[in-house]
Amino acid sequence: GAGWGGIVRLLLVRAAGPRCVCVWGLFIGPALCVEKRLCGPELSALLPCWHRCGVQGDGVCHVLRPSVLRKDANAALLSNFEVFQLLTDLKQQRKESGKSKQSSGQQNLNTIMYETLKYISKTPCRYQSPETVREFLIAMKGHKLTKAEKLQLLNHRPVTAVEIQLMVEESEERLTEEQIESLLQTVASILPGDPEEQQRDSAMETEGRGSQ
């Protein structure tokens, strides 16, 4: 009918211009080629590209690589604590909005959120708060560590000198023993650890002092 005629005209008009092709080499027209070579909906109904793209019947290309353009692969490093906060908030939001939107498409998100939260909850970040993280980073300014090293200290909360040596590159050359000690002190005092363990440690300390 009229719709098909319109589409055909679209093709004929654009054929004269610059050729933009879908990743599988099929002409899609410059109007749809917004730098990403996305297989356009009106053409996917006509061309074999519809099948090759693994389309789910809605006429849109679903293969991840061609359509999702990555601008900056490393815009920022995230600490475990930030991801923990984000996922907890998201979980809360989804619970509040009710089960009305639980379609089958959300299963992947549910799975990954559940597994990631389960993993992160076992790390020291569950005792952290925005204030402790800020305090920690301010305290770390004097120690001249790289961003990646500070992040690892934040995520793992090392308590022994050997762990520091693992996380800090060339620690024997860059840090003296006193510096490593002071680093451990800073980490232990600012970043909260397991409250049960801390109670046990302080109880042992007072016992030790008492016996002296």
Partner: protein, 209 residues
């Protein structure tokens, strides 16, 4: 362990969802598309962090849905080189120790990166570290379910996009047993051949309680 990746994509909202707020629909669509999926050369996508920019929505002839170009940031699991991670031993094989972190399972520690000397016990299908002290040799078994701390030394991305018709013809002409091997799109190679990097030491197990 996690990075923020800026991405751009065109999101299609079908007409029956026009009553919902655009931001919500777009967030849901992006999560539906990317969550728990590996993007080639980027990493395992976890969830949407925020939407930085929404461009104008267009409706194309023949399709009633709106198409919107979105600039957004996504939380992606992509450990950097030499990062220390803690995981659980999932299984052992001749290829090495397979470690999992719950949401990501394709981590392998090859035999040469294990604490030397190590041998593979065929009967129990576990790797054993023959730990020598002054008293004698101790065998530390890398049992399933044990926590292990390792360093990320390498990562591999495999493109698992569907192939075109020409390669499909070639594969049918070969033996039919060579059906597509399920290749993991993203694998990490770890190493524990350094002091302290064992999960079986008492010291390290206590740290993680």
């Amino acid at each position: 362990m996690f990075v923020l990746v800026e991405m751009t994509d065109t999101v299609r909202i079908p007409p029956w969802q026009f009553e919902r707020k655009l931001n919500e629909s777009i967030a849901e669509e992006l999560n539906k598309k990317l969550a728990n999926k590996v993007v080639y050369n980027v990493g395992l996508c976890i969830c949407l962090y925020d939407i930085t920019k929404l461009e104008d929505s267009y409706i194309f002839p023949g399709d009633g849905a709106s198409h919107t170009k979105v600039h957004f940031r996504y939380v992606v699991f992509h450990p950097f080189l030499d990062e220390i991670l803690v995981g659980e031993i999932k299984s052992c094989s001749q290829d090495g120790v397979h470690v999992s972190i719950g949401f990501f399972d394709d981590i392998v520690i090859p035999p040469e990166s294990l604490q030397q000397p190590a041998k593979f016990d065929e009967a129990e299908q576990v790797w054993v570290w023959e730990y020598e002290t002054e008293e004698g040799a101790h065998d530390l078994y890398m049992d399933i379910g044990e926590e292990i701390r390792f360093r990320v030394v390498d990562e591999t991305f495999v493109d698992t996009s569907p192939t075109g018709p020409s390669s499909a013809e070639a594969s049918t002409s070969n033996a039919t047993e060579e059906v597509q091997k399920k290749e993991a799109p993203y694998t990490l190679v770890g190493s524990i051949s350094e002091p302290v990097l064992t999960g079986t030491g008492e010291e390290t197990a206590k740290d993680w309680s």
